[in-house]
């Protein structure tokens, strides 16, 4: 009867995974799991080791004190991050202001205005820009961009807009402006790559509906593409910002390495990665090294948060238009 027919009922393997009763499968799954966990291990190692190296700093400095002090005194072991925070923020801000409009315009050109074949070809220069190593950008910046700023751009700005604090002071070329501009070139590929991907996922139906109403291409972009991609583009910008914050070599070579805060973009300054790059190898006291590692921790935390936020935004766009539009 029913119970006899059913008494040999066999469930598909417990967790639904194929053949996990099999030895080969179990071993393979075990190896995979270990390799996957290694990512978490690496993440843990990063945080742990940064904290360890930074520990001597904590003995004499409070977190708030460290962040708000502009002192940087290896002789007496008093350190403060403010100068470098300022420098990093200013250069990143300049790079974002310069890069984002161009990146968005370029992304729109590639996805909306250029014929599809041309659009595909146009991504090649963008990829090339991304492939150039940072130290080469630094070299180019040092010997090409800095003299150009010093001899052409900054004098012109100083003459016509010198009443603005950001354009005041002697035009020496090296400084926040040079770093910001080079950073703008370096983060452009990042912003473009993600923006292009996001814009491509705009449902064609939205664009076509706008065009069918008689909109011009530009109006279709404003009506359909931008509202849909807004969050994703913001995510792209955050990713670019993250890259700008952490960029080391190019900035180190053109920022002037001067630990002071200045309102003018013409002035030399210092950034978090730059001071680490310049001083870490020769730092001798544990507190000095700890201070540099503390700067590294600040960098890590900031880029971590930025990337996490960017990821949330980009995946939100790709998952559901409902959560994003209008």
């Amino acid at each position: 009867m029913a119970e006899a027919a059913g008494h040999l009922a066999v469930k598909a393997t417990e967790d639904g995974r194929p053949g996990s009763g099999n030895l080969g499968d179990r071993a393979f799954n075990g190896v995979l799991w270990t390799l996957g966990i290694m990512v978490l291990v690496v993440a843990g190692l990063i945080v742990l080791n940064l904290a360890l190296v930074a520990r001597p700093l904590a003995k004499e400095h409070s977190l708030w004190g460290f962040i708000t002090s502009t002192e940087w005194n290896p002789v007496e072991d008093h350190f403060g991050a403010l100068t470098f925070l300022y420098g990093t923020l200013v250069t990143s801000a300049v790079s974002i202001v310069v890069s984002v409009p161009i990146a968005i315009g370029l992304s729109l050109f590639i996805t909306q205005f250029a014929p599809p074949k041309l659009g595909r070809i146009l991504t090649i220069p963008v990829e090339l820009l991304a492939a150039i190593p940072s130290v080469v950008y630094g070299l180019w910046g040092l010997f090409i961009v800095v003299p150009w700023l010093r001899e052409s751009i900054q004098p012109w700005l100083g003459k016509h807009l010198g009443f603005l604090p950001i354009f005041s002071g002697p035009p020496i070329g090296l400084g926040y402006m040079a770093s910001g501009l080079i950073l703008a070139v370096m983060i452009l590929p990042t912003i473009v790559a993600v923006s292009v991907e996001v814009m491509k996922t705009t449902p064609e139906a939205n664009r076509e509906a706008a065009l069918a109403l008689g909109a011009t291409k530009w109006e279709a972009v404003m009506m359909a593409v931008i509202p849909y991609s807004r969050a994703g583009i913001l995510g792209a910008v955050l990713l670019g910002l993250g890259r700008a914050l952490g960029e080391t070599m190019a900035v180190t070579m053109v920022i002037g390495n001067s630990p002071q805060i200045s309102a003018s973009l013409f002035a030399p300054g210092y950034s978090l990665p730059a001071v680490i790059a310049n001083e870490f190898a020769e730092a001798t006291s544990a507190v000095h090294i700890g201070a540099l590692a503390g700067l590294g921790l600040i960098l890590f935390a900031t880029t971590f948060l930025l990337n996490a936020g960017a990821r949330v935004l980009v995946t939100a766009v790709q998952k559901g238009p409902k959560r994003v539009s209008g």
């Binding site: 996957g36 990512v39 993440a43 990063i46 080791n49 150039i132 990665p273 790059a277 190898a281 880029t303």
Partner: protein, 284 residues
């Protein structure tokens, strides 16, 4: 859309914005051309057999080269591959095959976020992991730093590639009586292998171009070195040192070394593209 504006006006705005966007392309293109042109024109003059094979000479002396730096880069990147490629690709395969649970999602999130950590911070980590216990700078430390940089990007790329393999292939293999793990290895991963190799080449290209994490891990070395426990020169650090020096002839060397670096990175990128194309030829 302002239906009250005249059509001509709207058309003009449309053309103008299209033009603005095209200009953005030019604006992005100019730095690219500038960098490439200058590296080639300023660097080509210094290219010579001696440059590739000799050790650097002290200031003021003629000649000398980046032989040790080139070898150092190849050597450290090679070491980094030994650690980074298996871990990165393996994590990617894990995410594709088993990565849908909570653990998998955490790993994926971490891989994405870690790929954005500045390379100089990774240098500090490698310093703590290798330099402090060893008591001195070494190629190992540099290699560890580079491998940590490789892992997150490789993992994400591999996961995407493996997920692209159609599920019907797995079914076909299982229906032949092949166990699941062998199906994963010899059918699924084999199908994705071309793409994975491309991703690895790109990761290697990126590692070859890194400077910051090497500054206080591998440091530098004026001489030939293939001892992993000793400080090692690298192409990127050499460029940096030459560039920030006050000597003109060293600046020239910086350009030439940059050209060499661009050639190395360029060859790796081209190789990855060629492989992609070959993979698709012949198959439908």
């Amino acid at each position: 859309m302002n239906l009250h504006a005249s059509f001509t006006y709207r058309k003009v705005v449309d053309r103008m914005m299209a033009g603005v966007c095209a200009i953005c392309f030019i604006a992005a293109f100019i730095p690219l051309v500038s960098v490439l042109w200058l590296v080639i024109s300023k660097g080509a003059a210094g290219l010579s057999w001696a440059f590739f094979t000799e050790l650097p000479k002290p200031v003021g002396e003629e000649g000398g080269g980046i032989g040790n730096a080139l070898v150092g880069t190849l050597y450290m990147v090679g070491l980094a591959c030994l650690i980074g490629l298996p871990l990165g690709v393996g994590a990617g395969v894990y995410l594709a095959e088993k990565g849908d649970g909570t653990v998998g999602q955490t790993v994926r999130f971490m891989a994405e976020v870690l790929s954005g950590v500045p390379s100089i911070v990774i240098g500090i980590v490698a310093y703590a992991l290798v330099v402090i216990p060893m008591g001195h700078f070494s190629a190992w430390a540099g290699a560890v730093a580079l491998s940590i940089l490789m892992i997150p990007t490789l993992a994400r790329a591999t996961e995407e590639l493996v997920r692209l393999v159609p599920g019907s292939l797995r079914e076909a293999s299982l229906a032949l009586g092949v166990p699941n793990w062998r199906t994963s290895l010899r059918v699924i991963i084999r199908t994705a292998l071309g793409g994975i190799v491309t991703a690895c080449l790109l990761a290697v290209a990126r590692a070859a171009g890194e400077t910051a994490p090497l500054l206080f891990t591998a440091l530098n070395n004026q001489y030939w070195n293939v001892n992993p426990s000793a400080p090692t020169a690298s192409l990127t650090v050499a460029i940096f040192n030459y560039a920030i020096s006050p000597y003109d002839d060293w600046h020239a060397k910086a350009w030439t070394a940059s050209l060499v670096l661009l050639i190395v990175v360029g060859l790796l990128n081209i190789a990855s593209r060629v492989l992609t194309r070959n993979r698709l030829k012949g198959a439908r």
